[in-house]
Amino acid sequence: MPLTIRDLPKEKYVLPGNAACPGCPETMGLRYVGMALGHRAILVIPAGCTSILQGLMPGNGLSFPIINVAFASADAVASGVAAAKRLLGEDAVAVVWAGDGGTADIGFATLSGAAERDEDVIHICVDNEAYMNTGIQRSSQTPLGAWTTTTWRGKREPKKNMPLIMISHGIPYVATASIAYPIDFIEKLRKATSIRGFKYIHLHAPCPTGWRFDPSETVEIARLAIETGLWVLFEAERGRVTISPFSRPYADRSRRKPIVEYLKRQGRFREVTDELVRELEREVDEYWGLLLKLSEQKVQ
């Protein structure tokens, strides 16, 4: 039976009065982690916005057990946490909650290492597509054409495809999620806890501060990313890709919304040219083609 709002626990894992910006997608995501895993989750958090939004000692804006660690060490620490809990025989889930910098750039070495060792860890990459905490610098997850403080005229390189890199590691479970579809994210998290081995979930999280849009539009922008086909919800079990229900209609090219609708809502794409839009459209088509090939579904 599908999950509904009624089935979700009403406890608060993100406490009111934390230090996050208004409209923050990370606190939204953390709330869904709490709803999915509850007290079983032990969070390992490398440097990023989530280290900051916890606020100043001796208080903490999040009510999870948390270990705040150095940038590049998150998955190594989580491997240790998982091993210790296994030895003690306690029921706990080691979760790495890392930003795109802590996953795709600085944290990639330990992530790849832990994935190769197949540690019993869930790695969640909360992808706001730049280093927002230090002042919006480009990361390898920043999309083509986006403004950041280090790419003034738009980034020239396309976004690195992390989910496919993680599928190539041969780990048991890889999934993508979006903060606009919380039930989908929660179901994927619960599924991940039932699987032994390394699990990777890539969560798309539009950041109002860095992407330059009104805080009230966080959910709408995240939804538009799905509807334009730029972000695809899928899960891959041992490399076998299944497109998730919310993304399934957009396998058909004609049902996708024009990408411009997504771009024009965000200040970071102010300088985007028609040529770049065509380039992005080509990228989306290629990505969908590859995913559908992996999932062996027929292209409509």
Binding site: L15, P16, M57, G59, P182
Partner: protein
């Protein structure tokens, strides 16, 4: 047992760790209970857990904690019946 000589860098959960964040707000979300259908979506999407929720029969009863609400307006944008209005904070 010997007392720890050093203070552990350990923090504990606390509501309002960053002060009264309600003072950041420049738009005030107001729920029109005549329109509200009690779906609970505002609670689901609120980034700061400031939407209080309780079950009342088949539906939910929601209210906003204005002490800590930062006024992002996500609740108003996700409301399916437009029962939440954003008004200027004075």
């Amino acid at each position: 047992m010997e007392r720890a000589r050093f203070l552990l860098p350990l923090s504990r959960p606390k509501i309002g760790v960053h002060g009264i964040t309600g003072s950041w707000r420049f738009r005030r979300p107001e729920i029109d209970y005549a329109k509200c259908v009690g779906c609970g979506l505002c609670w689901l999407y609120c980034p700061d857990s400031v939407v209080e929720i309780e079950s009342s029969g088949e539906r939910f009863k929601v209210s906003i904690d204005y002490t800590y609400c930062k006024g992002c307006g996500i609740c108003a944008s996700v409301c399916p019946v437009k029962a939440i209005r954003l008004s200027e904070e004075v």
